[in-house]
Symmetry: C2
Subunit: 152 residues, 2 copies
Amino acid sequence: MQKSVGRLVSILYRKNQVYLNCALKSAQITASELPFLLYFFRNDTTAGISQEALSAYLLIDKAATARAVQSLLKKGFLRKEKDEADRRANKIFLTELGEQQRTVVQARLQQWTQFLTEGLDAQSVDTMFHVLEQMVEKMETTDWHNIWRNAE
Amino acid sequence: MQKSVGRLVSILYRKNQVYLNCALKSAQITASELPFLLYFFRNDTTAGISQEALSAYLLIDKAATARAVQSLLKKGFLRKEKDEADRRANKIFLTELGEQQRTVVQARLQQWTQFLTEGLDAQSVDTMFHVLEQMVEKMETTDWHNIWRNAE
DNA sequence: AAAAAATAGTTGACACAACAACTATGCAGG
DNA sequence: CCTGCATAGTTGTTGTGTCAACTATTTTTT
């Protein structure tokens, strides 16, 4: 049986979604909203951030960003202003209510990582992280939409 | 910025889907159908295989399996028989036409892997594979639906 | 300064996968 | 036997994400 990174990543992704939706249900946070909240938890956004920047960082389509942000606004976890310096853009902020979710969210996330990696060699886990980062980096910086054309 | 396996896996998964849909368009194969075709390419299925078994191996919901198989039947890549030994089950086979897709499919897949891993340390890539496998293994064999309940 | 191109965001349509409810078949204990 | 439970598969509904088309602004070109 040949190894397939596609299969593994697919399973990890899908099960992760199920876990998150389940584990964060009580906090009213869905798997699709989580990446955005995490961005606010982990970065300085006191000046607000545009949806474009969120999309670019998460490599998520701007349509999905628009919908997730809308949903988080409605739930009161985020707040939106028009950017007066560039009136095309929004400036998105984390609200106090959003900030209050940090603890639960990080706990659930930490428990998932803990579950996935416990018993594994820490060094190997680090290596995995690093390789995944390199592959994502490559996708960000290369136009790979036609990579097979070069080969024929 | 804290490391997040979730973010990396998510990006890998989504971009992989986009790549596959693009690279296999000419072969009339979609990203959702691919895992099933691959199973037939990589395993002995001369006796046919049930949808249940496919679902179990790919960890894909049986509903998704039913739809992908339906679609591949319609395209003529797979063939279906009632299992006479257990009339609830289907026996699914790869057709000659399906077999003919092997070359293109494997080429496109190989090119993607090549692109993702070129320039990376081969040893590290192996380690990544192994760690991903271990994590998937853990998800298969553990009931993790409430892992955070233990912790409080 | 006017025209053209680029950028930020929204919306509609569709692909993909999960869950629940359902049908049909098989099996086990009374 | 037959009643109840388990298994294989199908279908409806919903959440998630991509792409394309559109509006509204900003920037660049001429």
